[in-house]
């Protein structure tokens, strides 16, 4: 393969990921694939040495190597310098939004061995409506122009949230035909859409992607908010599991539970409306397709409760909380650890001689002689 450098515009992350997977499955399935992330290193220098080594040393075990880099490294100027020296048999992939003034972009544009895949600009309303139409066709959802407009209006300028909402519509519709009412009931705000994608990865057991989504979510949302969404998701999964995956019964059960909880009628109706259209259908579909046992949602629920407690203990320690969340979703997916570690928060250790004396009460200790 002649290409040595490939920059995928991750503004449309779903499309970029699909392209990467297509290459992985069809063209370079025999090559060694490895992911690389600058956040995993303790210093920028360490990260730089590591990446330059990765793109310089070929794999002894396979014909070639693909180094997938999440995000644009801070030392991208150094990469620009060695871009033309990347040897044959090594492909450096960068998944990051385009930075058109960067030297890496400008250099890559000049070289034949480099490819730049830019995603569609949807800043204007017309282009967004057009994008919704095209993406809906790709996913298999039949939308009329009015619905396209509503989706574009609701989901904002994010490629990812539009795609995720369309996937949700597809999951809810029986034959792909979606009405205006369906769009109004199913489509929701951007944060929720991203959570929808994140939980799908957890159910599917796609470890790497689930951790990646969590990392992206942590950049924009408060950990407490993510935990809140996860808890709501776990509750709907548990309800579906209690009804053995039957959505109609789940909705009935949800209604009964609401009555038991003495929620006022207005709120109950709202929740039921919501439940009917999206939430439980999606949870049931996820659970049934994943092949996981019906006991699994309860494991998820326990992990969510642990996370809820952790958010209270570690409210100010965002790094520690993120690590906890990675560990929790790792356990949900059936592994005890996350695939790649994030740097642990630095904790100043207490001097050894002071240990014990402060923390534990000494029973009937004799007064010290002075």
């Amino acid at each position: 393969m002649e290409r040595r450098f490939w920059w995928l515009d991750s503004t449309d992350w779903n499309l970029a990921w699909a392209k990467l997977q297509a290459v992985k499955e069809k063209q370079l399935s025999e090559w060694e694939w490895m992911s690389w992330d600058e956040d995993d290193f303790s210093s920028a220098k360490e990260a730089e040495v590591s990446l330059l080594r990765e793109i310089g040393i070929p794999s002894p075990f396979s014909d070639g190597k693909v180094v997938c880099c999440q995000g644009l490294p801070t030392f991208h100027k150094k990469i620009a310098k060695v871009l033309k020296d990347i040897p044959e048999g090594i492909l450096l992939v960068i998944m990051a939004p385009f930075s058109k003034t960067s030297s890496l972009y400008l250099k890559a544009k000049k070289l034949h061995s480099c490819r730049l895949d830019e995603c569609e600009d949807i800043s204007s309303m017309n282009s967004r409506v057009e994008f919704v139409g095209k993406r809906a066709e790709k996913i298999g959802v039949r939308l009329d122009k009015e619905c396209c407009y509503i989706v574009a209006e609701l989901c904002g300028k994010s490629h990812d949230s539009i795609t995720n909402e369309l996937k949700k519509l597809h999951a809810c519709s029986e034959d792909g035909v979606v009405s205006r009412a369906d769009v109004m009931q199913v489509c929701s705000a951007e944060g929720e859409a991203v959570i929808f994608e994140f939980t799908s990865k957890i159910v599917a057991g796609e470890r790497e992607q689930a951790h990646e989504w969590l990392r992206r979510l942590m950049l924009t949302m408060a950990p407490q908010a993510i935990v809140g969404w996860l808890c709501a998701w776990a509750r709907s999964l548990c309800l579906v599991a209690s009804c053995r995956g039957d959505v109609e019964n789940t909705v009935k059960l949800a209604g009964q539970l609401l009555k038991l909880e003495k929620v006022d009628d207005k709120r109950a109706r709202c929740v039921q409306m919501y439940a009917k259209t999206g939430r439980f259908y999606h949870a049931a579909r996820e659970l049934n397709m994943s092949g996981r046992p019906l006991s699994w949602p309860f494991v998820v629920m326990m992990e969510c409760h642990r996370l809820e407690l952790a958010t209270r203990w570690m409210a100010k320690n965002k790094d520690g909380l993120e690590l906890e969340m990675h560990r929790a979703i790792g356990r949900m997916m059936g592994t005890s650890e996350r695939l790649r570690p994030i740097p642990l928060p630095v904790v100043e250790e207490e001097p050894k001689e002071q240990r014990g004396s402060k923390k534990y009460e000494v029973i009937n200790a004799k007064p010290q002689d002075h």
């Binding site: 080594r53 040393i57 005890s336 650890e337 004396s357 534990y360 000494v362």
Partner: protein
Amino acid sequence: MKFEIFRDYFELGLQRISAALDSNHELASLVGIKVTKDAVVMSVQGDNLACQVKLDAKEDGDKILKIKEPGSASVPGKMLIDAVSSLEGKASVSVEFEPITETAEKAEEDDDEKSSGLLSIQSIEKKPEGVSLACVARDVNVKIPDPDPSLVMDSTNFKEYYKKVGVSAGKANMAAMYANVSITAEGDSVAMVTTNSQQISRSEFKADVKKKLSALLPYEILAKAVGMLSSDPKDAVSLQLSDNQPVVAFLYQPLSFLKKANGEARYKVTSISDAFPNVERVLKKLNFMVWGRINRQAMEKVMKSFDLFDQVRTRMELSASNSEIGLYKDADKGKAKRYIPVADLTYEEGEQDLEMDISSRHLSQGISSAMGDDIILRLSGASTMAKLELGAIQEDGKSEGSLDLYFQPFK
């Protein structure tokens, strides 16, 4: 539950299981203490590592461990270790579980297994001094079968070679948790291999192999267990594997205390993944045509002057006419260069100069893992893997164990 024990012996037992405590869940990570008629068994169940230490009761002379009342309790592990270490200077301690029951009625209602209480650890010599910890009357459920080992080996060798072979375990940015070490045992030797797709480490040493063995085990988790083993060469280590999937490895080691008390430490490691490249196939293909001997200290001196650890690549030139190796600080030839003489330089075919770029980090880590005075360098060409033999070589030219490092050069 009540027993009296030498504080140092108690601390030694706790040290042997401490690595399995989850540092991220200090409060939730429990040590289970089970007291039977003739032993105290302490257990910790970690994520992929479980540890168990059995301390045999012995009352002769020094009363190292005297059991007064059988029972069981689970205590927050980190707190227990801190509490025992805070009693430093005390010879013996009495450990007792005291249940807390508010009323007689509630005591009847409470299930024995669920009842909570205090674990008091008191100095026997100075009775009032001691520490109390909240606990529950329940043992941590760790089941490790009795030993039926596949191989028995020298503890010191195993620890040393295991640590050194780890230089290639996992990529710098990946959790070594997911990096496997391949352990094979056949005849009378054990081979351990790790790789990070840029270099391969292989170590081989003698062992008493009782059953043929071949397994992939998580390097980092097994390293935790190996780190807790005693370094005393008399305390041999036994390794045993389960037949089921995922593979579970068990390590056993006798525990002795001042030649006066006996016990046993047991570790259970569960494998996480079975991903490992076909290293043997790659190594078989290598055909080294050039070899020579380099002084380790001379090499270390050069590396220190170059500060190679933070460099990306180092250029290495083998000069046939001068029998020496030239090392450039980096791949740019204009930069500093040092020469190191190569003894017994031998060419299987025609003499030729060779030049290759190797990772500075890998070279410096490899040389620091070397065990003897000399390092043997083997090369076949500029683009194929270079081999460094780092094992200690004795006067008769043979080595007790071997430690080989294979580098993939830059292209």
